[in-house]
Symmetry: C2
Subunit: 424 residues, 2 copies
């Protein structure tokens, strides 16, 4: 099993970077170090709504003995040409507005009378309703230290600093930082396009009528959702009947939109195993060929697996078994890490923990095969959900973990610490 995973991860390479608009790059991995082109803030600015003053003018000010200053005007955020503040003067200033020439500090409006002449105020009145606030006089009730309530140019980042390192995954705060330094686009590894295709002549689309011997196609739905969950742009192709020519033609058609192809079914030892027939060397299904290698792995579920490449661009293809639980577990173990490798993500695997087995009786496991049982994990313990049958999709939908039973273990007693793969 580990060999197969190693082969997959050694073959799949991160996708070539592309330049994307910032919001299209969410969840993607940065390819280059990003250097800050301008200091943030780009200029000294006020951290409060208040008055820009000279320090000596408000030295010793108190409610009893306020400093009275002439208001020379407003400095609003975005104002490109602020007025100067001379001795005995103040400018009414808004949060984010540039500190005007001559001013040395900002006094919050709550420490002034806001020009009202009637003691401390809670805030300013809107400029549009009370234009007189930008003139007249203001009483200041507290002194201010030099640079008080001033955010210095470059106090966040400086021009030439590294904003983000190559390999960073772009979440909301990283996207915010890139915008803040003026980057509208960014070079990242794109999300891989994954085509999911199920095979089987017994498969019928949901909402249609089942004839005897038929079942509904569920793998293509579950795996398309799982591929999206892993970070991919996933395309679901309806189930393909067990006919090698149809399958080959369908794969060929789909290659144009695939960075990775995933098939389910048709990889075992039956006489109608169409994926193997279509993609392996004719005549000997144990020999690698057609670019796709079919193997039997020492695991349960998921013993038969195919991996290789198809088409002129050697698009990687993983051929998973057809039982729903087998295909889902195989996806988790092999396809998800492949998708995340294509994205260039630093951590491609699901987190694993150890947990105490909560069960009425010992779990049994086939000798020589690593078993992945479905489990419900909570608070340090894990309870098996459903049996080991690889057709038990109802139990799978109740599970949030896989319980790993090693190859050499045939029985696990309740209370034993077991390895658990946490899903979702």
């Amino acid at each position: 099993m580990q060999d197969h995973l190693d082969d997959v991860l050694a073959t799949v390479r991160p996708l070539d970077p592309i330049e994307l608009n910032l919001l299209d790059a969410q969840g993607c991995v940065l390819v280059d170090d990003i250097t800050v082109p301008l200091s943030l803030p780009p200029f000294d600015n006020s951290s409060m709504d208040g008055y820009a003053v000279r320090v000596t003018d408000v030295a010793g000010a108190s409610e009893e003995f306020p400093a009275v200053l002439e208001v020379v005007g407003d400095v609003a955020a975005g104002q490109t040409d602020p007025i100067a503040v001379g001795p005995g003067q103040a400018a009414r200033i808004m949060t984010g507005a540039p500190l005007p020439p001559g001013a040395e500090a900002v006094v919050p409006v709550e420490w002034t009378d806001g020009g009202s002449g009637e003691g401390p105020v809670a805030g300013m009145r809107a400029r549009s309703l009370a234009p007189e606030g930008a003139e007249g006089h203001v009483q200041v009730y507290r002194p201010a230290e030099e640079r008080a309530h001033v955010r210095a140019k470059g106090s966040d980042v400086r021009s030439g600093d590294r904003a983000l390192a190559a390999g960073t995954v772009l979440g909301p705060p990283q996207i915010g930082l890139l915008a803040a330094i003026g980057r509208g686009t960014v070079r990242v590894r794109p999300r891989p396009r994954v085509v999911v295709l199920s095979t089987g002549s017994e498969l019928v689309q949901p909402d249609e009528q089942l004839a005897p011997g038929q079942i509904y196609d569920s793998n293509s739905f579950a795996l398309t959702a799982a591929a999206r969950d892993a970070g991919a742009i996933a395309y679901r192709v309806g189930a393909v009947a067990d006919d090698a020519e149809t399958l080959r033609a369908t794969i060929e058609d789909q290659l144009v939109r695939a960075d990775l192809m995933v098939t389910t079914g048709g990889v075992s030892v039956g006489a109608y195993d169409v994926v193997k027939e279509a993609l392996a060397h004719v005549g000997d299904e144990d020999e690698p060929g057609g670019g796709v290698d079919f193997r039997k792995l020492a695991m349960q579920p998921g013993k038969p697996q195919g991996f290789g490449s198809v088409g002129p661009d050697h698009t990687p293809l993983l051929a998973l078994p057809g039982n729903p639980v087998s295909s889902y577990v195989s996806f988790e173990l092999f396809v998800r890490p492949a998708i995340r490798t294509l994205m260039g993500l630093p951590d491609v695997h699901r987190p694993t923990v150890t947990a105490s087995l909560a069960a009425d009786k010992a779990l049994t496991s086939p000798k020589g095969r690593r078993q992945f049982l479905r489990g419900s994990h909570a608070g340090g313990s894990v309870t098996p959900v459903g049996g080991s049958g690889s057709h038990l999709v109802a139990a799978l939908a109740q599970a949030n973990a896989l319980i790993v039973v090693p190859e050499d273990t045939e029985s696990v007693e309740p209370g034993t610490e077991v390895e658990v793969v946490l899903l979702g």
Copy 2:
């Protein structure tokens, strides 16, 4: 702060359910219990590629003394009218194919000569290449118990069982189960459409040229990404200048595609605080009005906040402060839970843990305000990243957690256990 959150969550109601195609419902919450309409599997079927036999015909079979049976044909998956198996006969059968009439068990092909007459085989040859495999005779080397390698009808779920409970979040395995029981569409609460709008005359779009006094709009990018991350369909509106009429008109325009509106900036005590001016009662910014209530919360960052509803459908609106760190922290604390409430999700809050404070010196925090510092959390300890300044976007991009310092705490010594909100 808690009061404000309570008000938000008491006002925002889960969105009305809609019927969505299965893959469009990924990540959404199921509204009804889903009952299984047909048993799974719908018919007894083979769990292996092999031969369908009668138990008495293979009793005592061994490699030395094989049972030799007449092969009456193939039963492939999806075959709607399988042939019958009489005494002394076997049908070659594929995984998932219906157990044919007369057969009582399946013998895996690996326990037979596959019709070759040359001892045990690893698998069948493809039907298309070796049609003779469906006829002739087969040597069986092991006995089979009744129902061996047969998956019984209804052994996964039975008609009438509850497949999934109302309130279930639809992930890949749940989508797989719904497909398996034939559901092509499902009734869920849709993802909320969230319009994000930043305000400020100083704001310039990334990739454009900054004039003196201007900065780049980053809030609308960070919060649009954060809204998507929370599960919403988010629309980013470019920054709106500090003009009440323009803002009102923009909000009115956007209402048609909004289940929730989020603004940043313009909510404090300045004379150009346009959001407050446009949405609060004219003339008294401390009184609830225009549907939107503006408050000062005992928290840092994020003291000024607005919440209410706008437009004919009473669309909820959260007005966040404009400093980038303030708006992001406010989003995490108020908007994310609101989005998840609209989705009907069972758990609307980020997980919190306790962690040991790793710092060179004590953290200080203003008395009477709950402080949310940015931190880097790993392995049970948390390290503050950057200072408390609400303009420090570079540090925010290095954080993965918020360190919570309670209202009544003014100093936190290194090594103290602190509450930590885990981001992403």
